[in-house]
Point group: C2
Chain length 323, copies 2
Amino acid sequence: MQSLLAGVLRGEPRAVARALTVVENNGAEKRALLQDLYAHAGDAQMVGFTGAPGAGKSSLVDRLISLLRTQGLRVGVIAVDPSSPFSGGALLGDRVRMTRHSADPGVYIRSVGSRGSLGGLGASTREMAVVLAASGCDVVLLETVGVGQAELDVMSVADTVALVLTPGSGDAIQAAKAGIMEIADVFVVNKCDLPGADALVRELQWMLHDRRSLRENWQPPIVRTVAAQADGLERLWDAVVRHREHLAQSGFARVRQQVRHKEAVLHLLEAAFRRYLEERSRQDPEWEKILSGSGADVLDPYAAFDELRGQLPWLSGTDRTVL
Amino acid sequence: MQSLLAGVLRGEPRAVARALTVVENNGAEKRALLQDLYAHAGDAQMVGFTGAPGAGKSSLVDRLISLLRTQGLRVGVIAVDPSSPFSGGALLGDRVRMTRHSADPGVYIRSVGSRGSLGGLGASTREMAVVLAASGCDVVLLETVGVGQAELDVMSVADTVALVLTPGSGDAIQAAKAGIMEIADVFVVNKCDLPGADALVRELQWMLHDRRSLRENWQPPIVRTVAAQADGLERLWDAVVRHREHLAQSGFARVRQQVRHKEAVLHLLEAAFRRYLEERSRQDPEWEKILSGSGADVLDPYAAFDELRGQLPWLSGTDRTVL
């Protein structure tokens, strides 16, 4: 464990890989490992990229890595693959493309699935980002396809969220309908050499103008890129850096940090409660009988809940009318 | 409340609609309402349909409604729309098509979004199915697009899960890779007038043959349909009914019921715990300070968790090494 920890702090790829696996699999050493890493996580910049499949997120991330490397920055990437069996295999090609950075010791790329992560993908992404930050990454890029709540939870880990849209896709209207515009700090119009780019930019300007009040006093910029030609990456990174400076100066960086910390602690408390319930079921046959309803005529979860709550004195005080 | 309850039990569409809204929105009357409905939920048959977008699930459900109506059965439908902003609007057309049953008082159709349901879509679908069952539905059809974990959770509510696949789509391999084959009790090869249907059936037979042991001693049948021409619906329903009989005779119906009941009770306990944590944060400034890390130098969620756990005596006994 000490050597794993030391390896991560020295940024050794093998140690980082092992530590990420421990976190991803919720391994027994996870807690001891993370507890020591938090103090070294520093203030790596977390930048999230989300958008529809095919919007070019992976190409953008790929090009951005190259740009950041020319600035001497160390870069970590967490790319979340959708959990669905039906969401196609196109992503794989993108991942393979990104591996051209794999020989670069200043870049660490990890793909994760969104299925089966105990208690939410947001929580495990947060912890993986801590590993990468502690290993010396200056920037951690998070990439998800916006196909579900789990993938969007990942974005709550980021300091800056970039929403990637493409001309003629209708994405902007879909995103607006779903309230996803609200989580974006930077809008990227990628493939802006395609017809309809100007229309999309105007549409976004109109939508953003319509926002009643700015979130965190920030006017989200709209950046045009053509990732395939490495065009617009400097403008994109400039927008991200300006957003970070705004968060720091306005004090919202601290607010976001606290919200994230609170979520992480609540997540641990909830996991502890789940474990408590499992232990209790194993040890207490009467408890398990009520839980499974094996003795009941009518399977009424509320009646069973009331009975079990009666055995949890600390819970009994909570408002009965709501539950 | 009494009149709402009476209306639901008489199967009045307006009362059913209001009750479903109460459940979906987690309204204050939810608990009282459901508690009285459980005793009347009886044994409606819950049948889930899942598969890739475009596999023809909505057409199948639409045709199945017609078939079940000729048998004099009352039918409820819960159709889950994916939460993603980017998963297209094609579903809407399907829903509109289904509304041709809307004049039939023996059919109740409800679309729900998969976003924002407190504590999981599985839980709220389970409760909505109880409302429909208590309102007199003999069969409740659940329909989801298999795009994420939330949508798949819905299937845990069903007695029988039908996985809908189409020739030439590569769905079978995708589904097998993701382990989704395991949850299917019936395989439907829809659009089987398309080229590749025989190959898909053979592929499925081969995959199913390869299963080491049968789940619940059930050999899942493969049913060919052409929903657009109402072809194969009798065979499909026959397979569903045979599966139900198998579950009843083998005792697995009771096992599944207990697992579902247990999940529902655990869900209520977890929601109560979440509420407890919220109340505690509001009432106890010291607790809130630790939770948000506002006084800490290093934001270490594990350290905060330990401090808070120390204030929850019942939790302190749980295994510290794992968390």
